[in-house]
Amino acid sequence: MKINENLAISDNGFLFNPTTGESYTVNPIGAEIIEMLKSGETQERIISRLLDMYDTDKKTLEKDLHDFSDILKQYQLLSEDE
C-alpha cells in the first residue's frame, strides 16, 4: 500500500492533498494511521501500535482499518502497490 507522501495534516485534523487540491477532515486516530502509512509502517505494525495506544481489540481494529483504507483508496489518497 502506498500513501500520497505530499499529504499535509495539521494538528487540528485538516488534511490537504496538494496534488488534487482536495481538503479533508480526519479524526485523531485517522491522522495517526495516515502518519504511520507515510512512514512506511505495515498493516500488522500499525495494528499492534494502535492496540498499545487504544482501548480496543484486534478484530475491531482490523475491520475498521480495512474500512478506513477502502475510503482512503476511494478518495485516491492511498493506492495499491504497483
Binding site: L15, E22, S23, Y24, T25, V26, N27, P28, I29, G30, I33, D52, M53, Y54, D55, T56, T60, D64, L65, D67, F68, D70, I71, L72, Q74, Y75
Partner: protein, 448 residues
C-alpha cells in the same frame, strides 16, 4: 499507561455545501437517560430493541393540552383515541386524568369496557360497526357516531327492539381549505348530505341526536382549518335548534393535531413549526365562542386527539448490529429495530440520538432495520457520531400508532416498558415468545 478511548478512524472530504460540525443537527446530542433511568440499564434489564413510554410525559402533555382548551372554553372533554395506543396501562393513565374513551371497532369497545370505562363515556366512531356492535353500544348508552346512511338505517331498525333510545351523533366531512380533503368518512357538509342525515334522524324520532362530530384529517399543520370546521359544525347545530327546537349536547372536533415529529420533505423541524395546542385551541374555541350559541348554552367541546398527546412520550431504544459501506462509499448502519416496530418511519424523520457520549466527529448514515426486506429503512439520512457494533441509540417521538400498527413479521415483538413518575420502570407488555405465535395455530392431524 492508561489507554485512550477508542474511536474508529474517520476521514471525510470537505465539500462546498457540506455542513461543518457547527452545522450539526440537534440529534447529535446524546440522550443517555429517559426520565432518570439509564438507557444502558433499561436494555440490560429488558432487552433490545425496547419500547419505552414515559408516564411523566403522558400526564404533562395531557395537562398542557387540557389547559390550552379549558382556559379558553368552559366545557371541555378529551376522549382517548384507542387506536393511537391501546395498551391497557396507557389507556388507564388517560382515564385517570379524566379522559373518556374513543373507539373505532367492537374490539376496542370491549377493551374500553374491560378497562372499566363507563359505557356512557365511550364514543364509538368508524365506518365498520356491526349490528352486534351497535346493539351493544346502544344498550350501554354509549355515544354512537354514525358514518353513513346504511348505518343510520340499521340503527333506526334496531332502535325498536332496544330498551332505550340510542344516543347518536353524525360524522360530518367538509372542505376546510386543506389538502387532502377527507370525504370518505361521514356525511358531506357542502353538498347537504349532513343536513339531510340530521333531518332523517330528527323526523324518524327513533334516535336521539346528541352531538355533531368531524375529523378533518391527520397531522394537520394549519390550525385555521379547525376554526373553519368548528364554524361549520356550529352552523349545523344552530340550524337544528332553529328547525327542531332541539339543542345538541356536544361538538366533537375529532383529532388530527400534529405532534412534534417532522414530516419527510419538510425543511424546518416539526418541533419548531407544527402548531401548538394553544394554536389549535385558539382556532377552535374562537370559532365556537364567536358563533351564534348563547353564552349560557354552549355545547360541550369534545376532542379526540391521540397522536399529539402521546407521540412525545414514546421511545424506541435500539442497538447497532453492524456497520457497513454501500457501493457509493456511503455509511450504512443496521440496527435491531425495523419498520416492523416503527411503522411511522415511512412518513416521519424520527429524531435519533446516540445513548452514549461521543467525540465531535459525525458522518451521514443510512439507518436500516434488521428485516430481510428492502423497505426496512428507518432513516434515509441521519447525521450521527461514529457508531460501533453494540452501541445504543434512542429513537424519539414513537408513542403514537406504533404500538397498535406494529407487525409481527419474521420476528417477535419486544418488551414495552412504562417508566412511572418515580422513575421506576414497569413492563406493561411482555415480549412475545414462540408460543405467542404458535398458540392459536391448529395443525390438521395428517400434518401433526
Amino acid at each position: 499507561m492508561e489507554k485512550k478511548q477508542y474511536e474508529r478512524p474517520h476521514i471525510i472530504k470537505l465539500e462546498a455545501g457540506m455542513p461543518g460540525k457547527f452545522g450539526m443537527r440537534s440529534e447529535s446530542l446524546p440522550v443517555t437517560h429517559i426520565d432518570g433511568v439509564s438507557v444502558k440499564e433499561l436494555t440490560t434489564n429488558f432487552g433490545s430493541p425496547l419500547f419505552v413510554l414515559s408516564e411523566r410525559t403522558i400526564r404533562s402533555v395531557y395537562r398542557k393540552a387540557l389547559k390550552s382548551f379549558s382556559t379558553r372554553y368552559p366545557k371541555v372533554q378529551f376522549a382517548w383515541s384507542y387506536k393511537t395506543n391501546y395498551l391497557t396501562a396507557v389507556c388507564k393513565i388517560y382515564h385517570q386524568e379524566g379522559s373518556w374513551a374513543e373507539v373505532v371497532s367492537g374490539f376496542e369497545y370491549d377493551k374500553a369496557i374491560a378497562n372499566g370505562v363507563d359505557p356512557a363515556r365511550i364514543i364509538f366512531n368508524g365506518p365498520g360497526k356491526s349490528a352486534d356492535d351497535l346493539r351493544k353500544a346502544a344498550n350501554g348508552g354509549s355515544l354512537i357516531h354514525i358514518d353513513h346512511l346504511d348505518e343510520l338505517y340499521t340503527l333506526t331498525d334496531l332502535a325498536g327492539e332496544l330498551p332505550r333510545k340510542p344516543l347518536v351523533a353524525i360524522r360530518v366531512n367538509m372542505d376546510t381549505g386543506i389538502y387532502p380533503m377527507w370525504d370518505r368518512f361521514g356525511f358531506n357538509y357542502e353538498n347537504g348530505q349532513a343536513w339531510d342525515a340530521i333531518n332523517k334522524i330528527m323526523m324518524a324520532g327513533k334516535l336521539e341526536l346528541v352531538g355533531l362530530h368531524t375529523h378533518i384529517g391527520t397531522f394537520i399543520l394549519s390550525a385555521g382549518a379547525y376554526g373553519v370546521a368548528a364554524g361549520k359544525l356550529a352552523d349545523l347545530a344552530l340550524g337544528i335548534r332553529q328547525k327542531f327546537g332541539h339543542d345538541i349536547r356536544y361538538i366533537d372536533m375529532g383529532g388530527g393535531f400534529a405532534s412534534k415529529n417532522t414530516l419527510k420533505g419538510s425543511y424546518l423541524p416539526g418541533s419548531d413549526t407544527n402548531p401548538t395546542f394553544d394554536d389549535y385551541a385558539e382556532a377552535i374555541t374562537s370559532a365556537l365562542v364567536n358563533s351564534g350559541f348563547r353564552p349560557d348554552n354552549l355545547p360541550l367541546l369534545i376532542l379526540e386527539t391521540g397522536r399529539a398527546l402521546i407521540d412525545e412520550a414514546g421511545y424506541i431504544i435500539s442497538t447497532v448490529i453492524a456497520n457497513k459501506r454501500l457501493s457509493s462509499g456511503r455509511r450504512a448502519t443496521i440496527i435491531d429495530a425495523g419498520v416492523n416496530l416503527l411503522f411511522t418511519s415511512f412518513w416521519y424523520q424520527h429524531p435519533i440520538t446516540p445513548a452514549q457520549g461521543f467525540s465531535q466527529y459525525r458522518e451521514d448514515n443510512t439507518l436500516y432495520g434488521p428485516l430481510c426486506m428492502n423497505i426496512d429503512c428507518i432513516r434515509e439520512s441521519a447525521n450521527l457520531p461514529l457508531l460501533n457494533k453494540g452501541d445504543r441509540i434512542v429513537i424519539h417521538y414513537t408513542g403514537a400508532y406504533n404500538l397498535t400498527q406494529w407487525m409481527q413479521f419474521i420476528t417477535l415483538r419486544p418488551n414495552v416498558v412504562l417508566i412511572d413518575e418515580d422513575s421506576k420502570p414497569h413492563v406493561v407488555r411482555e415480549n412475545e415468545m414462540l408460543s405467542t405465535i404458535n398458540g392459536p395455530e391448529k395443525t390438521p392431524p395428517h400434518l401433526a
